[in-house]
Symmetry: D2
Subunit: 145 residues, 4 copies
């Protein structure tokens, strides 16, 4: 059982992209997730507290997120929660990280033009998606609105 | 308690966008969600069964999804499950719909250029996002990778 | 990515427990999940549509669920969605199954007395939980309300 | 959008139950959630990191949880994440709370005897569950394993 969560929110810092000595790409940024709640007294939706998360992506998702996401944009992200204690000099604390499985721009707030890149060797080895997949799925008829 | 779910998968039909007589925008499309499982005998991730869903979006999300999403793209979507019985002539069945809260292109599979539109009156009334929100959130310092 | 979902609802049929020729225990029952939504006009929470699911459990969870759960009780369940087409004589249709990872009685609606059984060989091999686990976790201090 | 999450784990402290001056019941305890991951090299499931959460329940769920849950038991919980900064004397930190919607004993690890209490006035006003509900749902036929 992994502690999976899905969040929508505002990207609050420009994504940082690094590549480790072993060639692993990592991208991370801070996300502000605003919770909304219905207030019966005021009969309106109000902004609740803001939760702050550090979102981290790896490999091809890291590369694409760094090339696509900017501070100030709205996104959705699904991934695994990791609660970590950290220390830096005299200060210490707890951070809540989301190890992202998938990230996308939130189309509630804008439009997006999607481009499929030439896959890297690492990625294509990991998840090959042959064209017959698409053809097979297209055979299933759509059902109306 | 609402039956919320987050899915990643392949858009299998071109999105259909309609506007009702009351002015409500609705967009829907079929989504093929491939489940992956680890096979111990083969020591590899295998494609499991495919689940088929009808994804439905409303209002501004419907408008933006129709302008952004094409058959064959990979997306993630979070929303509420609705299980409906349908009848059409002699045939009948059960469909599983996802009433989408949020949709985005899955950046695991490509890059995306995001554009924030001029908000429609309907949407801006519903969810006003003043600029001070962004400034406030930007004050929180990023924590490292 | 698996299509995981968490549901709360009413057990609508007495659980059926079978053991396959290979010795695999399986328990299943129907679950009615009532969605609640806030109606602004009436300023009250209303019952929305009911979603119907077939919940299926395996191995030790199947054994314990069959011994614990009765029709009419409120439960919560987390698991993976499986959408299946079925045929039986002339009739056919689609069923939505939840392959349960975990099931419990919903303590919103009552109290429960929990008993840890002697583990079966199958289960204890699969998930050994040594006592030092508990001692280790108990070392973490509680933080107040 | 609320930051909902479902967790399974070990109750690491005895639940504390208080009633505020306004008559609001609150129960809280610490939960250790062990993540499991498949290690390809060892071809086995291994325990991963442990995430620590403070789980908080209110009203009838608080009363029933306090009467049912003990340190050392396995539970599942679904609720909303709240990330809070705290200060106590010289020390400060961040805590991750789960505001519980529903809690139950995890039947993967034992059996439970469920008892529906006489509802309190507060609760019964909030969520009335007439008997016809159950009768109505029972009309839906079970579908086989």
């Amino acid at each position: 059982m992994s502690d999976t969560i899905t969040l929508t929110g505002l990207v609050a810092t420009n994504p940082r992209h690094i590549v480790t000595n072993e060639g692993l790409g990592i991208t991370s940024f801070r996300l502000a997730s605003n919770q909304r709640r219905f207030d019966r007294a005021q009969n309106a939706w109000l902004d609740g507290d803001t939760n702050w998360y550090t979102v981290t992506a790896f490999r091809q998702l890291a590369t694409n997120a760094a090339a696509s996401i900017e501070k100030g944009q709205r996104i959705l992200v699904t991934g695994t929660v990791r609660i970590r204690d950290w220390e830096s000099g005299d200060s210490r604390g707890t951070s809540i990280e989301i190890d992202a499985d998938s990230i996308g721009h939130d189309l509630t707030y804008g439009t997006a033009e999607f481009k499929r890149p030439t896959l890297t060797a690492e990625r294509s080895q990991e998840r090959t998606e042959p064209h017959q997949d698409l053809d097979a799925t297209a055979a299933e008829p759509a059902r109306g609105i």
